[in-house]
């Protein structure tokens, strides 16, 4: 499938909704927990078993983004969005068959394996195209799409809950819900497939950088540069710090203020989790757009430096101020979202837009690593502190100090980022070099 080139007059503002239609769909993955209790009771599964489709899906997201990135660059965004649509929707349909026949392995294979490929290819599908359409505002453009991934769970969570209420929580009700999800997402994502276009040969914006800037690095070369691995550490540390709070948000705020005069109820803790999701989403579009104004390196200085300061404030003031705890957690989560959304633009600054989607796919392995690391640190330490007889805010003090250390490591890695050495660049076309020489001549 050749990349669909935009006809004359095609607006670039049609590309973000195309990207959003994919990201809002695949973001459903983070609402998988809605299906866990019904699956456990209908199929007699344990909590670990019911989480397996989601976990496999996230593993497949990382793998398909890392290994499928080059294919996405070669075949274009329409091919990638079509693959994402087919895999993600088929995943639900196979899972529906699994629930109807009470075959657990079909749910794992369908949602986790097949659907997971759709997650990974879908996640990176619009990145390169958006950056090419918005070379003047790459942070804002990728921020809109990646905000959609956060927004997908906000839509799916109440929608899926309502559907299970209507269809019932037995195996046939779950099967019907999966079926409706698969068909609806297929229709919804088709907008992206139909609308997405790559820009014509001319630059969409007069002031945009181009190949004349000289920085165009292939995905194969990019992973051999220290810059790639510095950004890998930056992303991994930033995500670990965010997940550290996100993963245990409800029990954390409850434990934190349990011994105070203003304890937090279960419903208030749920409200806190919802507010964190809002901060996560707002950070994706807000901070990523800000990076277009103040620069990528500076915005990561803020994410990592101010993020460490926020953790220090929580650790220092402990349970003495609930508003302070909430504000600091919201800021940290906004940086978590911002870190995800800004990284494609940072990659574009360093490696050019030539294979930025494929490079982004490879960098997402940092996300997978952080997804294991963050919860592991917080849960392991909290369990050990509890076993040692500690309670309240002291359960998390050590975790927060570790998070500060990790953010400091990320801060140093960000400081080490330098322009990519010219030996990694793709040689510029002869005519481009000639034009560049003419322009730079006195």
């Amino acid at each position: 499938m050749s990349p669909p080139v935009a006809p004359p007059g095609w607006s670039r503002w049609l590309v973000p909704p195309a990207a959003l239609s994919v990201h809002l769909s695949i973001g459903q993955a983070y609402a998988w927990s809605v299906f866990k209790p019904p699956l456990e009771s209908a199929l007699g599964l344990s909590g670990t078993q019911s989480a397996l489709p989601f976990q496999l899906g996230i593993v497949m997201l990382g793998l398909s983004a890392a290994f499928g990135g080059t294919l996405v660059e070669r075949n274009g965004p329409r091919w990638a969005m079509t693959v994402a649509l087919v895999c993600f929707s088929s995943g639900f349909l196979i899972a529906s068959l699994g629930a109807a026949t009470e075959q657990y392995w079909l749910i794992v294979f369908g949602y986790g394996f097949v659907g997971g490929i759709g997650l990974g290819i879908g996640y990176i599908s619009p990145v390169s195209t958006l950056i090419k359409w918005f070379p003047d505002r790459p942070g804002m453009a990728t921020g809109i799409a990646i905000m959609g991934f956060g927004g997908g769970a906000l839509i799916a969570s109440p929608w899926s809950t309502q559907m299970l209420k209507s269809f019932g929580s037995d195996s046939s009700g779950i099967a019907l819900a999966f079926l409706v999800h698969g068909l609806t997402y297929a229709v919804f994502m088709s907008l992206g497939v139909l609308l997405v276009r790559v820009p014509r040969g001319e630059k969409p914006v007069a002031s945009a950088p181009s190949a004349l800037d000289g920085v165009q690095v292939s995905a194969r070369n990019a992973v051999r540069t220290p810059q790639f691995w510095c950004l890998w550490v930056v992303l991994c540390m930033n995500v670990t710090a965010g997940i550290g709070i996100l993963e245990k948000a409800a029990p954390m705020i409850t434990d934190f203020f349990a011994g105070t005069s203003t304890p937090v109820s279960v419903s208030a803790a749920a409200g806190f989790v919802a507010l964190l999701s809002a901060a996560n989403m707002a950070g994706r579009i807000g901070w990523s757009s800000t990076s277009d104004l103040i620069g990528r390196k500076n915005i990561y200085r803020v994410y990592l430096g101010v993020g460490a300061l926020m953790y220090a404030l929580i650790a220092w003031f402990g349970d003495s101020s609930k508003p302070l705890f909430i504000i600091c957690a919201l800021v940290i989560l906004s940086f978590y979202g911002g870190g995800f959304a800004t990284i494609p633009a940072y990659l574009k600054d360093l490696f050019g837009s030539y294979q930025v989607g494929a490079i982004h796919g490879r960098l997402l392995t940092a996300w997978s690593t952080a997804g294991v690391l963050g919860p592991l640190i917080v849960n392991w330490i909290a369990d050990h502190q509890e076993a040692a007889g500690k309670h309240g805010s002291s359960l998390y003090g050590l975790s927060f100090l570790i998070m500060i250390g990790l953010l400091a490591v990320g801060f140093v890695a960000n400081e080490l980022v330098r322009p990519v050495h010219v030996r990694h660049h793709i040689p510029a076309p002869r005519e481009a070099v000639d034009v560049q020489r003419e322009q730079s001549a006195p």
């Binding site: 049609l14 906000l154 109440p158 907008l191 969409p204 279960v266 919802a274």
Partner: protein, 42 residues
């Protein structure tokens, strides 16, 4: 800048596309606000 100022015939398509993705997102945000309110009232 050709791409920034789209011809009038594309405006309907742009509005439709943004509505397509905006409507479910607004629903999600509305549900989120309802839940988030519990932090202050719960």
């Amino acid at each position: 800048m050709s791409s920034e100022s789209s011809p009038p015939r594309r405006r309907g398509l742009i509005a439709f596309a943004w509505l397509w993705v905006g409507a479910p997102l607004c629903y999600g945000l509305y549900e989120l606000v309802l839940k988030a309110k519990q932090l202050f009232t719960g």
